[in-house]
Every structure is written in C-alpha cells, then in structure tokens.
C-alpha cells in the first residue's frame, strides 16, 4: 500500500465494483420478484 500506484489501482478496483453494483441494482432488467417479501430497505428504498 506504500506505492501511490497500488493505491490508485485499489481505488480503481473499488470504483469498478461500486459502479458495477449500482448498474446491476438499478439499470439491468430484473427477473420478477413476485411473491418475495421485500422488506424495509432490502430493495434499496
């Protein structure tokens, strides 16, 4: 972690995962969740 390059790579990886998660969560079409109990917060509300 000493090297600035490693730190930048870690930041890049974290960013990639975060954006990937948000795209998966909000942009990609989902299969029907009918019947599944969507509790408080579990659906991102």
């Amino acid at each position: 972690m000493e090297s600035p390059v490693i730190q930048k790579v870690l930041v890049g990886a974290a960013l990639l995962i975060a954006v990937g998660f948000l795209v998966y969560k909000y942009i990609l079409p989902k299969k029907s969740k009918a019947g599944k109990d969507c509790g408080n917060g579990s659906c991102g509300c």
Binding site: K8, A14, A18, L22, Y26, N40, C45
Partner: protein
Amino acid sequence: MSKHINIALIGNPNTGKTSVFNALTGLNQQVGNYPGITVEKKQGICKLDRNLKAHIIDLPGTYSLNASSLDENVVIELLLNKNDKDFPDVVVVVSDVENLKRNLLLFTQIKDLEIPTILAINMADRMSYKGISLDIPYLEKHLKTKIALISTRKNSGIAELKETIQSYKDISTEPCLNASEIDSEYFNRLRVAFPNQLLYKLWLVITQDVNFGKTNRKEIDAITSFKTKSEGDLKRLQQKETIKRYQFINEVLKIGKTVDASQAKDLRTRMDRILTHKIFGYVIFFFILLLIFQAIYDWSSVPMDLIDTAFANLSEWVKDTLPPGDFTNLLAEGIISGLGGIVIFIPQIAFLFLFISVLEESGYMSRVVFLMDRVMRKFGLSGKSVVPLISGTACAIPAIMATRNIESWKERLITILVTPFTTCSARLPVYLIIISLVIPEGSIIGLSYQALTLMLLYLIGFGSAVFSAYLLNKVLKIKSKTFFVVEMPNYKLPLLKNVGLTVLEKTKSFVVGAGKIILAISIVLWVLASYGPGDAFNNAEEIVTEQYASDNLGSEELNKKIASHKLEHSFIGITGRAIEPVIRPLGYDWKIGIAIVSSFAAREVFVGTLATIYSVGNDDEETIKNRMAGEVNPILGGPLFNFASGISLLLFYAFAMQCMSTLAIVKKETNSWKWPAYQLVVMTALAYVVAFASYQFLK
C-alpha cells in the same frame, strides 16, 4: 325396536364442539382412531326418545371443506361417501356466536351437499356481554335450516338441540349457494358430463383429490370426455367460491346479527369502546404518537452521539495508521464517512420499530386501522387502503405490493399513487439530521420541539397521501366501492421474543439493504470529488497560494482554502455548480444539490453523500453533524443549514419522489410507465414548489 340415526358434529376449532358432544352423549362414549390414520375418532350414543337413538360422531375441527390436513380430510371423506357406515343422516354444525361469520363458511358448504344440517350456535351466554342479538327466525329462513341457541358452559339449549335433531326430516336440504354461480360455463359442462351427480359434490371431488367411491380427480378426464381445469384455475375458482359465500353470509348477517357495543360489558369491549371512540380514539392515538416520537428522541441521543464520535475516530485512525495515498483517503473520507451516515440512525430506527411492533403485538394497531377507516372513507379511499398507508411508514415497496387485495382497480391505483407520500423509514435519517441542525433543543410541556417537528412531518406525509387521494378520487371519478373487514384480535401483552425479532430483522434489513447502496455511492462520489479535469483542479495549490500570497494565512487555513478550491473544480463540483441555479431559490448550495441528485436512488443516501463531500480534503476529526453545522452559505454568509433552508429541505423530502425502487414497483404493479412517470413529475414539482415557497417566506 328402536331406530338408529347417524349424527356428525362438525365445526371450526375452538367452538366447543367436544363440549356439545359430551353434553349429548354423557358417558356413552368410545374413543379410537380412524382406520389407517392416527386421527382421533370419538363417537357416542344419545337417546333421543324411546324409539330413536343417535350415533354421534365428533369430527375433527375444520375451517372449511377445502382440506389441507389429514384430520380435515376425514370430514370431507365422510361427507362425500354415502357408502360409509358413518355417513350422517343429519349434520350439526357447531359455531361460536362471536365468530359466526367465519363459522358460517363451513356451514354453507355442508348445506350445499344437500345433507340435512342444523346450526348449533354455542356460547350464547356471551351474547349479553358482547351486546350481540340474533334474529333467529330471519337466520333460519335465509340459511334454510333450524337453529339451536346453546351454551355448553351454562348447560342451556341442549334439550332444544335434541328436539331439533329428532325432527331432522323437516329440515330443508336446499343449498345456500347455487354452485353454477362459481363458473356457469364450467359447471354446465360438468352437469352434462355427470348428469346424475350433485354438482357441488363433484366440485369438491375435483378440487380436492378426495376418493369418492372409485373415482378420483385424475380419473375423471379418463372416464369421460370432460376436461377439467388446470390446478391454478381451480384454485382461482375456489377463491371465487369463498368470496361468493362470504358475500352471501354478509348479506344474511347484516340483518340477522346485530352488535351494539354500547350494551357490551366485557373488558375487551370496554377497552374497544374507548380506544375506537370517535373522539377519544383519535386523542389517545395522537398522544401515543407524541410519546413515541418523544421517546425516539430522548432514548436515542446518547447511542447516536457515541456512534457519530466512533466513526469520526475510526476515520482519523485509518488516516493516521495506513500509508498516505488515494486509497487511504477513500477509506477514511469516502467509505467510513458514508457508512457512518447510515449506522448513526440505527438507534432511532430500532426504537421506531420497537414501538410499532409493540402496538401490533398488543392488538392496538388493528384498532388504529379501524379508526383510520372512518377517516379514509370520507376521502374516497377504501378501508383496505389503510393497511398499505400504515405499512408505508416502514417502506413503500411492500406497502404498494399490499394493495393487491383491493378489488377495485381505481381504488387500488389511487392507493398505489399516494402511498409514497407516507413517511417511510428512508426519510427518517434525512429528517433527523436536518431537525437536529435547524430546530432548537427546547421543549414545551415536556415535549421537545424536535420530536414535535418529526411528528408533524409524519402527519404531513399522511395528510398529503389522504388529500391527494381525495383529489385523485375526484379526477378519476371512482364509482365502485369495496367493503373492508378487519378482525379485531384480543388484547395481549406483547411477546418479548416477537418484538425483539421484528426490531432486529427490520433494523438489519435497513442497514444491510441501504448500506450496500450507500457504500457504492460513497465510493463513486469520493472519486468524483477527489479528481477533476484541467489546470484549475490539478494546479489548485499554486493557484490558491498565489491568490492568498498577500494574506499571510497559516498553513491550516491555507490547506482548507486549497481543499475547498479543489472540491469546487472536481468532477462533482463542476456538476454541482451546473445544477446550482435550479436549486439556489430553495436555499441550497451545490453540495446539497449533489446530495439530492444522488439520493434519487434512495433517500437515506442524502446524509451519506453530504458526509462524504464534507470529508474530502478535511483533516479534522469531526462528526457529521458538526461538519454540516459548520458549513457556510457562500452567497449570504451565515450557516448554510439555517431555519429557512432546513425547513425547505424537510418539506422537499416530505413531498419528493426520491426512490427508484418505488418507481420500479409502481411500474410493475400498474404494468405501465405512465403512472410512475406521473408520480415522479407531480411529486417532484410539488416538492420544488413547496420548498421554494417555504424558503422564500422564511428567509
């Protein structure tokens, strides 16, 4: 020689069926098992007169003839098989006077099998306690039966029941419901295929795979050209049958049974009389709400301060311990600060669900639903809309899904459209942080201004939902009405285990569900706030040093100026300043603008976003609240979060449709983008106008 008849005692569980059996048979009892299964079979002999003896069989308790368990199946197997040696000459359906409506479902089903059926209404001694009166001739006429009013506890009415059984041949075998009404086309085909069979009996055979002679459902298709329906379709028809039966029962009981609560004498009724009173009921509910919000504030302030300080310390520790660099800054300023913005609200959310859970467990919540039903009807909503609106205080998603039991499409649509106004738990973090910044800490008659403001925001949410429903009702011109039935559970002490599990489960799903999104958004925001294009960002140190060269600033002061300059020229700063003209009239700066835009995904992201933005480049160990309190309005000077901008923000969040998941579920439930688009446009416009008006008025 005396004659024998078979009598079957049938009823819902807990109706006192076995007590009736004991009263009729005395000591002449035998207990065994049904052949092949370990379900208890009780039978006995009752001498009705010199020439008539009754063989009485006490069948297992069941709610309907749609069996789901082995012991319920025993009842149907007997009633459908005339060849059974125990097949009854007469059935006595034992019911409980307090739950007559539910009990009559089973009665009407048995009656439709065209077997002479007597209705024994037990626990008649409770009628005066409950203020219940029955019009027996009316009920007998419309249920086409003989009724015996009995009380096994007081040992009354048993002789009359025996007399009624004796004259069982006079009882009409006419059915209550015409089976063809369930689905005329399907039942007509059934009649043609099986011309000599009783339609309702065939229907039970088909729907329940019960052996009837040598015929079962799968063989029906094979024997004749008749094609039965799929399992899904049959289940839908079964539901239709139940609804039709309840419609019939409601009609009969509307006149046949009256309950005058003012005449009732038991404790539960006395409590109901007060808690659902048309004036005191609302006053008590209002004071319970006051207590809840006050307690939320009083009890959670200490753990909240501890969590806030712990996250500030953790952030500082990470910065001091890990090697300096971008990733360390991301951890300290982005991830830890962002997560701190949600973890801090655990105590308040846990307390809120603790109170809601206690109210539900104690049976009081059903009384609230009943109370609210009166209000709802005045605004054109169905009583069934109350449940989604109240459960919307947790989350709009399950609340909108709960509208599926509203039969009228228009009423359901209105409920779906107005439910997002209800204050969901995602709004809570936003409200709590803003209230703590802009509402003074004082109190009036022991109630803090902050708790009162929070309660007012909940009432505004509920009021907006009801008022919008009223307007939509006028616009959409609803004609159809649905009826609303709520069963009032008995009052009971809440079970600690149930309450604990609810609080744990709700809090966990809030933190884990929202936490993942906040974590992801915090990372993206930190990157956008820590990098920027062009010389203004990359040469920030030189530009600022040169700009303030003559001011002799200390290094700390100069570092703050550099950090502020970098933030302003970062990607997020550029975006924020681009939208600033739109939000400036509401009293917000570009940082709040970014928080509003990012919280479109989920409202609670707002606090995490501000925590991340204010942390970037800030070396001080500060709590979220202190950082927000220290923000200065760049144009007017003074605190950015003042009374006017704070109220404007609170109202913006009270009305805005800041939840992508809710829009997605509305699209799914309405099968159209039109309604979520309408919600988004109207609610955002309303939020903007109200926030604008309040800021301009208060500033």
